[in-house]
Symmetry: C2
Amino acid sequence: MTRGGGRPDEDGLIARFFRPLATAPGAAQLLDDAATYQPPEGHELVLTTDALVAGVHFFPNDPPDAIARKALRVNLSDLAAKGARPVGYLLSIALTEDWSPDWLESFADGLASDQEEFGVALFGGDTVRTPGPLWISVTAFGLAPEGQVPRRDRAVPGQKIYVTGTIGDSALGLKIRMDESLRTRWQLSDREAEHLLDRYLLPEPRTRAAGLMNDFASASMDISDGLAGDLGRMCSASDVGAVLDADRLPLSAAAAKAVRSDPSALNTVLTGGDDYEILVTIDADAAEVFEAAALDQGVRVTAVGTIMPSFSGHVRVERRGQPLVLDRLAFRHF
Amino acid sequence: MTRGGGRPDEDGLIARFFRPLATAPGAAQLLDDAATYQPPEGHELVLTTDALVAGVHFFPNDPPDAIARKALRVNLSDLAAKGARPVGYLLSIALTEDWSPDWLESFADGLASDQEEFGVALFGGDTVRTPGPLWISVTAFGLAPEGQVPRRDRAVPGQKIYVTGTIGDSALGLKIRMDESLRTRWQLSDREAEHLLDRYLLPEPRTRAAGLMNDFASASMDISDGLAGDLGRMCSASDVGAVLDADRLPLSAAAAKAVRSDPSALNTVLTGGDDYEILVTIDADAAEVFEAAALDQGVRVTAVGTIMPSFSGHVRVERRGQPLVLDRLAFRHF
């Protein structure tokens, strides 16, 4: 089962690292060509896929467990935005020539830990070799109550715009990762800097908010390419505009400090990628009940703007009542 | 929407090349974070994923439409072996810096053509950049009647072993692709050589055989890593052995000629990869009805051996009544 350096062959590798993750009966312990799954009645299956490439979406020297969790979590974030509870995922991974069992063990540990945290299981996979950088592609699926999957094209003028969690942490974390001197420039404590770095390394999909999306969302989507740009996409899809109030953005203590010390950081907060929060529009007369329900669920939500009947796709960002011009609208991974 | 050289950005690229493929209502024209799908009652969802890397699973200069179709078809082959009719797929593709709209247009044309042929639709995707070789990861899903998904661990001593189609063409085609002189050595006409090359370039998933699998299969799997090795895996999973009769292998005219001219080609036929035929075991007393049903469906099936109560996972290959020793059991893509 092994060849050279204690590294198992593909069957051995799957048995050792991935079989323990295939806990659903339909996954057949990854011993078969395909998995089976039967959604319960009254539910829709929600499907999404996202891929990460080393050097593009993460740093090759990131901890392997964090890489694995990020690959899974960016998909869980899409499911949460669509009001779906995650069920399972399929994983393709391309390993480079110098892969090591230790690396893969840590990678699998990361998946195991997130499987427990989010209640999902591995349903299948493919392990291949690549002469290029390591990459991972995950397809995740989940369940939403029938007819209660919010779309991104249902934003209506007058609706309030909410975001979950805090905005900009991850993009600021990436900036610090690229330029350590920003820690000083932004006057961050070690703990604050770590907070931002961690948010880049490990997204926090808002799975707990899925039920809120079923019950309250008019339009919703996950924020992966920056709030301003993703709101623009939502507005384009819905043929509406929006006003975004930069003074009301939910910022972590660390992000708030960065923005105070360096006004250009606000641009990063608004247009940086990798937030993995949910952007959602709510009818104005349901806003109070929505906020109360979110509080009950332990999900932080903040109103950050209003959908407008203006030019389709146009987002006006305001700060202290004045329009704010951004360097660019969105961060693009592509 | 474009930047340099007439190449669209990610949104433009998706709109131009992939949106026309997202014909299912649940795919939301790829304008959303996730797709929805509701399987009809009485059916199980069957899910599989397979990835291809340029230079590993295909030649970088293969026609883009053939690369696309291969990426989809290797997944459809898994579904067919599990008795599932394909419904949809999600696609991750990593493009290299020098990607061209022409390449991607041909790639999308290949998908469109296979979507029509196999009745599937694109349900979602992710387009990323890679500094390494181009790769494609497809997750496909389909439907099988509830409780009628054959597994690979159900082979029972006394059952007859069948394969669909012909065996070895693709592996011989790859040999020719690597060494043109084999055309002469194997005394192949141009047409025969083309047949083998085509089988390597473009698998023929046995989607039409899915119903036969529901009705007759005890154990089944698709043959992707060579008949001898995959039969060994089926036997291991089922805790049985097998006798494989090399004289009864269904060979195309081209493969038969290669084996006659060069006995070592038989090794390639038995252990080469990329057949994408179905390997299935059938109760001996159902064999006649199975063959008749296959004939009705226009699916070629050939009995090639028998499941034995011998050592788990052991496959004895016989030729002219004598055991045949293979160089290696299986071709591994990994």
